[in-house]
């Protein structure tokens, strides 16, 4: 149901420009949102989607341009301001208070009052009503902390509906939801759209964008590429517009990855019976030179736990690790780093890059760790290495002096990867390196991983996107319910085979 173009726009943003130190985040972008439409904002990481949303919701001040809401020129100075004007946002990282009850999170600031105080019974009843309209039957008095992230996301959307929003902004709302939950969410979005709410939707999942959107606006490098009704923009055309070049054929990555690995020698790293009670049943893992080992399994299956035990981030209470055939005690990440093992955590914001340092400083941190902290690295060498990695990984903006905190998620991930590569590791462990980043950056990162492994680097690659695992890895280790259930040769299996294996193989006994 594409909305009629003649309809009076609800939100008009004209010539929006925002500058950060060292970055022109948005350059004269126009954006129009009409009532009763789902409008997807597309672009690579760093294209300016988040910045545009934050400009609209009053989180960032705009340097130039104007925002017109319902025919009135507005300047929002805070999220509260924007909410008062009927613009509500649900962010990717759920912005609720886990120390409060579910019902309270829905109703906070809008509690039902009776006399001088809050009427909790009525408040919880109202919260239950709002949750119910999303098909959620929850105990509204239980603490939000006891709910999964997916449920918290839906609670956040319920909250936006309490505010009686005319504009609902959904920034990557589906990145931690499963299929059923996505369907539930889309049902709610369609309902709201039919009631005349204008919905701004951001997602990296192209299928979801095509399933739900009426219209697409594409941004690239902080500029507007174009606005199109969904029917007039086929997928390949969209991707081309987003990345500004023909999509590199991922098949070339796949073909370069599918080579024979010499497994006759000593593995780079060999773990035997590595486990920890209540975390992971003892599992074996070996990685050879030039090999990419994929770890596949559901969320919580023990993928992350296995590599954390290997790396020494958590202490195993069972098992032994050998590096190049010699026993190694990896009880702390420091020991792992001494043995040239690098772990890039799935939690890049908290355990990865240093947001307050520049791109160059972040990369040099890695070099410095290799050199020892007391030996100064000549500025010239630093610049050369930094430049090399910025180019090799396609970090945007290609400005070594930009603060990492101002970069998009995909580019932060690239900087993190560069930092680990600068430590010259022999085993690189990548835990969800492509989560929440766009197709272009995903392809860049996969390409780099394939290249490095072809040069002899051993890699452990974890991803929820099984296609990526199959594309990059020669061998796939499958985990389920905190247990390793088997290994597959990726040349001999396909996506369906792998899914079936994860779902069914090894019931009752370890393969």
């Amino acid at each position: 149901m594409p909305a009629d173009t003649e309809v009076q726009p609800l939100v008009e943003m004209r010539g929006i420009t925002i500058r950060f130190p060292g970055v022109l985040a948005l350059d004269g972008v126009d954006f129009t949102l009409r009532p009763g439409e789902v409008h997807s904002l597309m672009g690579e990481n760093g294209a300016g989607k988040s910045t545009l949303i934050k400009a609209l919701t009053g989180v960032y001040a705009i340097d130039a341009g104007e925002i017109v809401v319902a025919g009135e020129r507005r300047t929002f100075s805070s999220a509260a301001d924007a909410q008062a004007a009927g613009i509500s946002t649900v962010y990717q990282e759920v912005n609720l208070c886990t120390n409060l009850s579910v019902g309270e999170n829905v109703m906070l600031g809008h509690e039902v009052r009776r006399g001088a105080g809050i009427d909790w019974k009525a408040t919880h009843a109202a919260a239950a009503r709002h949750l119910d309209s999303l098909g959620l039957a929850l105990d509204t008095r239980s603490m939000l902390a006891s709910c999964s992230i997916a449920i918290q996301q839906l609670v956040a959307i319920s909250r936006a509906m309490v505010l009686d929003a005319k504009v609902l902004i959904l920034d990557e709302p589906t990145s931690s939801l499963d299929r059923g939950e996505v369907e539930q969410l889309f049902g709610v979005i369609r309902d709201l759209r039919d009631k005349g709410v204008a919905i701004l939707f951001v997602s990296h999942f192209l299928e979801q964008v095509y399933e739900i959107s009426d219209r697409i606006t594409v941004l690239r490098n902080g500029t507007l590429v174009g606005e199109h009704p969904i029917a007039e923009l086929p997928r390949d055309a969209l991707v081309t517009k987003m990345i500004g070049r023909e999509l590199e054929d991922l098949a070339t990555i796949a073909s370069s990855s599918h080579r024979e690995i010499d497994r006759t020698g000593t593995p780079v790293v060999k773990a035997t019976g590595l486990g920890r009670r209540g975390v992971l049943e003892p599992a074996d893992l070996e990685v050879y030179e030039g090999e990419v080992v994929g770890l596949a399994g559901l969320l919580g299956s023990g993928r992350t736990e296995l590599v954390r035990l290997l790396y020494g981030a958590d202490r195993p209470d069972d098992g032994a690790v050998e590096v190049h055939g010699r026993p190694a005690r990896l009880h702390q990440p420091r020991h792992a780093i001494e043995h040239r093992i690098a772990l890039s955590s799935e939690n890049r914001r908290e355990e990865g890059v240093v947001a307050d340092l520049t791109v160059a400083e972040n990369i040099v941190l890695g070099m410095q760790a290799r050199q020892g902290w007391l030996r100064k690295i000549p500025k010239k060498d630093q610049d050369a290495v930094v430049q090399e990695y910025i180019e090799a990984l396609g970090v945007r903006p290609a400005n070594p002096n930009a603060l990492v905190g101002n970069l998009s998620g995909g580019n932060q991930q690239k900087v993190l990867l560069a930092r680990w590569l600068a430590t010259a590791p022999e085993l690189l462990v990548l835990d969800e390196p492509t989560r929440g980043i766009d197709v272009g950056a995903k392809a860049d990162i996969q390409k780099k991983v394939a290249e490095l492994s072809a040069q002899g680097l051993a890699v452990i690659f974890i991803s929820s996107e099984l296609e990526e695992v199959l594309r990059l890895a020669q061998r796939v280790v499958v985990l389920r319910d905190r247990r390793k259930i088997g290994e597959l040769d990726s040349a001999e299996t396909d996506l369906d085979g792998l899914i079936a294996y994860i779902a069914n193989e090894g019931e009752g006994s370890a393969a």
């Binding site: 509260a80 906070l108 039957a137 999942f205």
Partner: protein, 343 residues
């Protein structure tokens, strides 16, 4: 791409009905430290009763517990607001001394109590406001901002008078000397003021939007802001409340001791913080109850009484409170770690 991102088992619908215990824990897990504090208080009572052969739980002793600790209770209530937002207020002890000596001096100069008492409360509120503004608008750490308040309060107290000033105002002395008796039990107006402070604070924290905003800020300040709550003014108000409570505590302490003394309340801010933490309020904010702080004050007061009874060294007081504090902080860490692990 969505097709390959793996689906998890559907939640919420097919799960079996949780047991009553699970429901209780998922709703009230945050109350556990407060229950633990209440349990410790009961154990202390029973222990002291057994040790002193039935001479401890007497109406006189229990009544005195409230009377002797009324000022600390009021301070702890104010402190609870600040700690719930994730802050800390080190100024309360010296603000209490300042307002106490200021009040004594004014009353001594013939200023009527009807003027002197509001000035005392406003004096405390003003220092709280200063700390709040430093924290909110100048981004100063609460520790440092309230440390500045601590020195300011103490300095002002010395400016007012270097020595103790006796209070002879009838209205103020009435607060302390009046005994509302019920058998052997008694209650003084200072005790009533302290209990009323607890009741009002509990109402504000649990039944007003302002109170819930305090909890939201302590849970996640960034989220609270994005939810459109009035974070700035609420945080400042928390410090103003703490300052006002310190002013009120100054009045109670002056009535209690019959004099203002500029060296009163040195280190009392730490007693108040200890009581709040022992009562189960998380130092990082967002969890805790003002009733818990009251229990914390009673635990504190009971230990003090027991040590007096035993005629032991006062240093034991510090050691026992220190040990309890350590215990509670470890318990809190365990609870937080558990609730984070569950997600």
């Amino acid at each position: 791409m969505a097709a390959t991102t793996m689906a998890r088992a559907p939640r919420g619908t097919a799960e079996r009905k949780p047991s009553a215990v699970q429901t209780f824990l998922s709703r009230h897990g945050g109350m556990m430290p407060t229950f633990a504090a209440a349990l410790i208080l009961v154990l202390l009572f029973i222990g002291a009763e057994a040790f002193l052969r039935g001479d401890f739980i007497t109406p006189r002793n229990i009544s005195a517990l409230l009377l002797d600790n009324a000022y600390l209770l009021v301070l702890a209530v104010g402190m609870t607001f600040v700690i719930l937002t994730g802050g800390i207020d080190l100024s309360v002890g010296s603000v209490m001394a300042f307002t106490g000596i200021l009040g004594a001096k004014m009353l001594g100069a013939g200023v009527p109590a009807l003027v002197a008492v509001p000035v005392m409360l406003l004096g405390g509120a003003a220092i709280g406001l200063m700390i709040g503004i430093l924290v909110q608008y100048f981004g100063v750490q609460p520790f440092i901002a309230s440390l500045a308040g601590l020195f300011l309060g103490r300095g002002l107290a010395y400016i007012v008078s270097l020595s103790s000033i006796k209070v002879e105002n009838d209205a103020v002395l009435w607060l302390q000397s009046t005994r509302i008796k019920l058998g052997d039990w008694y209650l003084t107006p200072t005790g009533i003021i302290a209990l009323a402070t607890v009741a009002i604070a509990a109402f504000v924290l649990h039944l007003t939007r302002f109170g819930r905003t305090i909890y939201a800020i302590g849970g996640n300040e960034q989220s609270a802001r994005l939810m459109g709550l009035k974070v700035g003014r609420t945080k400042i108000a928390a410090y103003v409340i703490s300052g006002s409570c310190a002013g009120l505590a100054g009045l109670i302490l002056t009535a209690y001791s019959g004099a203002g003394y500029p060296r009163n309340g040195i280190g009392t801010e730490l007693d108040a913080i200890s009581a709040v933490v022992i009562g189960g309020t998380l130092l990082t904010g967002g969890r805790g109850y003002v009733v818990g702080s009251m229990i914390g004050v009673f635990v504190y007061g009971t230990i003090k009484t027991i040590i007096n009874y035993m005629g032991a060294e006062q240093s034991w007081m510090q050691i026992i409170v220190g040990a309890l504090l350590l215990l509670f902080i470890v318990v809190q860490r365990a609870i937080v770690a558990r609730s984070e692990g569950r997600r």
